[in-house]
Symmetry: C2
Subunit: 719 residues, 2 copies
């Protein structure tokens, strides 16, 4: 088997590229940021991808049109006034090589000074910008705290700066940015793309990296990352765009819609109506303009591929306008099962491609690095998700020479590529078996941000989030069709086919839901849904909002509440009884990650399955004809996948369905392609595993799997 | 040395009482609930105390006047409506032997049905009480949750019920209650007290247990404690009293002021204006009526002593009206240093007395019990507080026979009593040395609830509270004058002599301060105070209120904030540097108890002294001329007393004052009586300790102390 594989190349590794291409059966080659596609390879019988940057790598243009350089809304440090005037130095804590205060547009029109002690906007006649010192002087109330929100030009492209610092580049000039949305640059970029297509007849795939607006990535005065929000719109602004927004939205724009008290609309914030409007507006404009570029590419007989990263802001792949771009493909980095599904579930393109880890960069291919271990770990997480929703292609990025020189690494990716092709061979484009009901993740973002919950920046581990993020990571490889629904969806009526709703996250975040939980429409619709036989699973601080004697507003459904010190005087008599369907497969200790302290069971219908001292960690509850399950946390692990699998079947009231297809060993999982009669059993662990495979409730196979093995067997029952 | 000691006695232990009285030098004997003072001892040359119950032990009266039985506001279970009517059984979950629905007063006037999903009161014409079934039927909105707040008669005195259950009494009749505030009972109780005084000429001290209203103590349907709030006013109500309250307050009473969403005004709740009004009203009335009883006692030449417990509601010993009662003494149970100070700091009485632990009850004096260990532990905590603010007397309670029969126990209390008398001998009524500035605890309760912060019921350990409670326990034995101030005190201007303000507790509780932290008056006054040289110490979630980009509103002063997921995209670069004055004495690991997760240092003026992974636990910050210290938690321990000592001197900017008197060993503490020239060095540990004693910054003594020893030396420097 060959194909479905993209390799990176570079000018200094021509022969080795050919050798590896043949060895691994690659059918595409690509350049990267900082590498070049060698002339000699252009005639190879494979697809050639070229990275294409619409917004940088043309400092001459940028310098000629400084007013069309990209801009970002920044918020100054918070400074407490000691007296009746205060001077705030805007660029304190920012890197002056990356950002420069916008002095071209009127500060009084576009900036905002806020008294953070009262939340009030300081009138524009109470402050002045002193361009010479770079300071804003404010008439203040002593001991109030102030911020200035202001516009700055992005004079060094953030990703270029990131790659420059990470790869320790020396003589490379800093790449300036320019804003394709602005009139002169728009025309220039379109013309330039045409010319480039003409000049590059051997390139088959134009890989846009990406379109127009970088996600928020800001560096501090020590050149360290200061702020990174992969979903951030802070660098997609300019007076030119904002005036259009005001016309479209029908109200005046405020910098606060973007800087958001200094939280910069971090995904965990419940998004304001105005920020949602801004996302909507940007999608409309960005997708329309992206289509113009894609049309140009197509007119030269080339494919257009979008990298889901870098300047992806406004393209929202699960938004209403994405399909309209007319892209041939999306490619993105696969850091986990969740990030794989974020790519592979995208509709409106012909194919999806995943860049597997590790990137061939010197931060991993170095003394003390473990690229083989990283590749295995990455593959084991990716594989379970692939079996549910396959990428069409995979590939790698970085310096091929590093991979080629690392003993054993090429063998490892050969194994990965072989397994990947086996999956496609066996599934033949058909869907895998899923349970006869849908599972919904409920949060403020809903379907617009599928597979994006409770994460900060891709699959990067955060102590604050991994115990919630794990729910999606588990689900990414489980036999359930997963919907992502918003509170408006719940208000409008929970769709018939959904049988289990999951709410997971920290109190007052967009993922838990905050003030949505004091909306009687939300509460009554969910209560009715469960009462009539539905399932509700809460993880962390589900339905949390302190109100009317409860912290978890659905404590009646969940059978638990959290002690916020207000009911310390109320005695609890929580006792564990771990004899339950959910725990039947589990031998060892349970892992709730960081967990959630102070949770206690209450009401008359609960059963506590796990406790930490007097706190409850895993609780089931009966509610009318329905069921709920509460987890104090659910980090990703094979064991927790099994817990969640059982919890979902229990919540759905469909325990008997679970052994339709089932493996006894918790470290293994089963995926079934009923149409082709093929079954994959995967070993998610680094040890050999023994497991039985059940089909229609009966043991059909007894299997011994090697570490990490994927074994294919036939679905005998259906033959 | 003899005196200052009260022993319990009983009818069956007359000779032994006399032997122990002589052995221990007791000068007072007492009866207890369930024991009797024997006739034979009435002629002993000691003071005789008699427990006196104003509200129970007279079932005949209670049964004759059922309308004057005490009442309690209860709130039913929260029940979710499935349809358009709902029946709530009021007594579900309560014990019908303790409480009985009040059917004498009009439910529509005194009860309240609330839709807890919306927070709205259900109109009285939308519900009916069905007396036959004990249910309230409500016209409901499907899937809304409802409660009924209602009045019930206390047909078994809660403390009598508690003692009955704890001591496994069998044939004792349940004692009914009656309400001394009501007209017939008031007269009856006064007359009865006069008669009792006449009938008991040998009794010297009438120990009121207590006056009129029991703190909230409710049992569930399994006779288990359901709710206990030592500070609770729920059982101090009746239509008779509430009508008076309405006249006094000028507004209509609502049951919600008492049941408080089901939280029953737990001390951790920020008290509502109406609840504070009610406390004020009850104090005025209770203290005036208590004075009438005390006057009667005095008219018979006897002393009046109040037990700080049981029916103490309305007497608030730090309230404005307490001194007006004219009591001779207060006695209370000493569970810790904090509870000792709660008694010993009371003004307006001639003397205070502490009931040391353990009580001579069979739950401790039993197989597997460790009464000697409990006595030692209790004494070590009590002793450090005594040295700062002495009780005038100590004593014990319970069954003397149990103590007398336990090998070694009498030796142990002989040791305690000897040390107690030594303290008085050496201090001669003079005050011990304190630092030349005051330390203030800031919370919503202020001076009205001195030594009562962050605790649930006396010194009972709660996992949720011990890490905050520890601050007061440490302070109870430290050389600082401690003020308790409210946010109104801060608004009105921080008193000159205060140099360090401490804010300790969980977010949104009365102890942290909740919405007070978005009051610009509070913020600016504290910022100015610190900027001008003051100190601020925060423990747990100080100044917490999510607002305008911050969770800790004084994050500028504290140098820390807590990550609530909204700034996860902001990089933190926290690094530890534990080279600091505060840690100079500390060798071992630090103990922050349950701690506070997700705290990070920020701003330009911090130094992190301790971390848990990437979270900061102990941080100092410079703010203008002032200093702050943040602790993630501070459970009581000798080491944490030392940490807090140093933190306070650091925060005050007075490090050089610390060695005015100082012991090098963290397990020891020093108390100095400058006027008598006596110094006590105590060993707070169960091991022998070696320590140096510094006076005026120089080593004056080198001491080897036995386990638990208290050593007296002379203050040579001042001689
Ligand atoms: Mg990248
Ligand atoms: Mg069931
Ligand atoms: Mg008691």
């Amino acid at each position: 088997m060959t194909g479905r594989l993209t390799l990176p190349t570079d000018a200094d590794i021509i022969d080795e590229t050919i050798r590896l291409k043949n060895l691994l059966g690659a059918d595409a080659l690509r350049d990267c940021d900082g590498t070049e596609m060698p002339e000699a390879l252009l005639s190879e019988p494979v697809k050639k991808y070229a990275t294409y940057y619409t917004t940088r790598k043309d400092n001459a243009w940028a310098m000629k049109h400084p007013e069309e350089i990209q801009q970002e809304y920044l918020i100054s440090n918070r400074i407490t006034a000691r007296g009746e005037t205060l001077r705030i130095r805007l660029m304190e804590g920012f890197h002056t090589e990356q950002l420069k205060v916008n002095t071209l547009d009127d500060p009084k029109r576009w900036w905002e000074v806020i008294d953070r002690t009262t939340g009030e906007v300081v009138p524009t006649d109470a402050w002045e910008f002193d361009e010479a010192s770079g300071e804003v002087e404010i008439r203040t109330i002593p001991y109030h705290e102030y911020t200035v929100s202001f516009l700055a030009f992005l004079i060094w492209d953030p990703v270029h700066m990131y790659n420059f610092i990470t790869n320790d580049w020396k003589d490379t000039p800093h790449q300036l940015t320019y804003d394709v949305r602005q009139p002169k640059t728009k025309q220039y970029v379109k013309d330039k793309l045409k010319k480039w297509c003409e000049d590059n007849p051997h390139i088959d795939v134009v890989r846009f990296t990406t379109f127009f607006h970088q996600f928020t990535l800001t560096f501090d005065d020590k050149k360290r990352e200061k702020y990174v929000e992969w979903f951030g719109y802070s660098a997609s602004v300019s007076p030119y765009i904002l005036e259009q927004f005001e016309k479209w939205a029908g109200y005046k724009f405020r910098p606060e819609y973007i800087v958001d008290q200094g939280y910069h609309n971090c995904m965990f914030r419940v998004p304001s109506r105005q920020f949602l409007d801004f996302i909507e507006f940007q999608q409309i404009e960005v997708c329309a303009l992206a289509k113009e570029l894609v049309d140009i590419v197509h007119s030269y007989g080339k494919e257009a591929m979008m990298f889901l990263g870098d300047h992806w802001i406004g393209t929202e792949p699960y938004g209403k306008y994405f399909a309209g771009i007319g892209l041939d493909a999306v490619v993105g980095s696969v850091g986990s099962g969740v990030t794989l599904r974020m790519i592979s579930d995208i509709k409106g393109v012909d194919y999806t491609e995943g860049r597997l880890l590790p990137y061939f960069f010197p931060d991993v291919f170095c003394e003390g690095g473990d690229p083989i271990g990283e590749a295995r770990d990455n593959w084991r997480k990716a594989r379970r998700a692939l079996l549910r929703s396959p990428l069409d292609r995979i590939g790698y990025g970085g310096y091929l020479k590093l991979a080629s020189n690392w003993p054993g690494f090429i063998d490892e990716i050969q194994n990965v590529v072989t397994q990947f092709r086996e999956i496609h061979e066996n599934m033949q484009g058909t869907a895998s078996y899923v349970a006869p009901f849908k599972v919904a993740i409920l949060n403020c973002w809903g379907s617009q941000r599928r597979w994006m919950s409770n994460q900060v920046h891709h699959a990067i581990w955060h102590r604050e989030t991994y115990s919630a993020e794990g729910v999606l990571e588990c689900l990414s490889g489980m036999p359930f069709e997963v919907e992502f629904i918003s509170f408006d969806d719940v208000r409008n009526g929970i769709p018939e086919e959904i049988k289990v709703i999951i709410n997971v996250g920290d109190a007052y975040t967009a993922f838990s839901g905050a003030e949505n939980w004091i909306d009687e429409k939300v509460l009554t619709n969910i209560r009715r849904f469960v009462d009539q036989g539905g399932g509700f699973i809460g993880v962390g601080e589900p339905t949390a909002y302190q109100y009317q004697g409860r912290y978890f507003q659905l404590s009646d459904v969940l059978g638990v509440d959290r002690e916020m010190c207000f009911s310390l005087s109320t005695d609890k008599y929580n006792e564990k009884n771990d004899d339950h369907f959910i725990l039947e497969d589990i031998d060892g200790a349970l892992d709730f990650g960081e967990g959630t302290s102070r949770v206690y069971a209450q009401g008359g219908h609960y059963q506590i399955l796990a406790m930490d001292g007097e706190y409850s960690q895993l609780v089931v509850n009966e509610y009318g004809r329905g069921h709920s399950v509460y987890f104090a946390g659910l980090p990703y692990s094979p064991q927790n996948c099994r817990l969640l699998l059982r919890a979902i079947y229990y919540a759905a009231g469909m325990e008997q369905e679970m052994k339709r297809y089932y493996v006894t060993n918790v470290d293994t999982e089963v995926t079934v392609f009923q149409k082709t009669g093929k079954i994959a059993v995967i070993n998610n662990s680094a040890q050999a595993q023994h497991t039985e495979l059940y089909i229609k409730g009966k043991c059909a196979y007894v299997l011994d799997l090697k570490p990490g093995e994927m074994r294919w067997v036939d679905d005998m029952e259906d033959r």
